[in-house]
């Protein structure tokens, strides 16, 4: 029996090209965003947006706590059993996300150009 057929290599190559293209597209769009902010989404609704420049600790409901320090965001506490979000790598640039699946909380860093342009009070941490 042959270990590897030619069609296998072809299939693996095709399956590799698709996500690599998606990643390249994401990287390109990330380069257009230099100003960033932290957006916390809980149960599908925006819980709050925060500047990355000031250090602070944010309690998200009763279940999770996250911390902004030196422009990096990490989840410091979660009451779920798997603790995957707490062990996630801290995020600091556009597109970075930490997800707590059990508590349905998403921390993500998004572009902040909109708030900068319109200069709304929304840019101030709530």
């Amino acid at each position: 029996m042959r270990l590897l057929r030619k069609t296998d290599i072809l299939l693996i190559a095709i399956l590799a090209v698709i996500p690599v293209c998606m990643l390249a597209f994401n990287m390109l769009s990330a380069m257009n965003h230099t100003e960033t902010k932290l957006v916390i989404v809980k149960d599908g609704e925006i819980y709050g947006t925060y500047r990355l420049t000031e250090d602070r600790i944010i309690e998200i409901g009763a279940t999770n706590t996250c911390e902004i320090r030196d422009g990096e965001v990490k989840m410091t506490h979660a009451d779920c059993p798997d603790q995957i979000c707490v062990h996630s790598v801290p995020i600091n640039r556009y597109g970075g996300t930490i997800v707590c699946l059990p508590n349905r909380i998403i921390l993500s860093i998004e572009g902040a150009e909109d708030t900068k342009d319109t200069d709304t009070p929304d840019a101030v941490a709530r």
């Binding site: 072809l10 690599v20 994401n26 798997d82 997800v99």
Partner: protein
């Protein structure tokens, strides 16, 4: 010819039951081995999927029916023993969909076990991303999907390569092309 497509005769029902029980135990053991690996992956869903060594073997030694049953059962058992309810909720759709993809690809007879397993690993993580998308509103699919697809592809390829070496040795009767 249709007869040639059928898996080779491997004893009666009792033998089959005994062997499938053995495979089941092996899959659970693989789940345990994976649970005690201390390396923390940067993203949820990124893992080697060692139990799939056994599941893909069953797919080739028996048929997709046996593989689906054993695969679903091991996700539940491993979830209760070493995981939690969430690992079952996310693992079960991934396991079933990846097996169906593998069964279909195997049936076309275009790809070998490495290609089938690689596609299965990718499909597994795509299914899990889909579950997350439906459960968590606003889940950042565009960032998670490509990374998890690559992770699944690598894991599936490695599992397939290992199985290509394992299957002929554990059952010399199996005719793999």
């Amino acid at each position: 010819m249709n007869v040639m497509k059928r898996p080779p005769y491997r004893g009666g029902t009792t033998t089959k039951t005994a062997y499938l029980g053995l495979f089941m135990a092996l899959a659970i053991l693989m789940g345990y081995v994976e649970a005690i690996i201390p390396i923390q992956m940067p993203m949820p869903g990124m893992k080697l999927g060692l139990p799939n060594l056994v599941i893909a073997s069953i797919l080739y030694l028996y048929s997709w029916k046996e593989a689906v049953i054993i695969s679903s059962l091991r996700v539940i058992v491993i979830g209760f023993l070493f995981g939690n309810m969430f690992s079952i909720a996310y693992g079960l759709p991934g396991a079933v969909i990846s097996l169906l993809v593998m069964a279909i690809l195997k049936r076309t007879d275009i790809f070998g076990i490495v290609g089938v397993s690689a596609a299965g690993g990718t499909a597994h993580n795509m299914a899990q991303t889909a579950v997350a998308f439906f459960i968590v509103k606003g889940f950042p699919v565009v960032w998670y999907l490509p990374v998890l697809m690559i992770a699944g592809l690598i894991a599936g390829t490695l599992i397939g390569l290992a199985d290509a070496l394992i299957i002929p040795r554990i059952n010399p009767l199996t005719h793999l092309k």
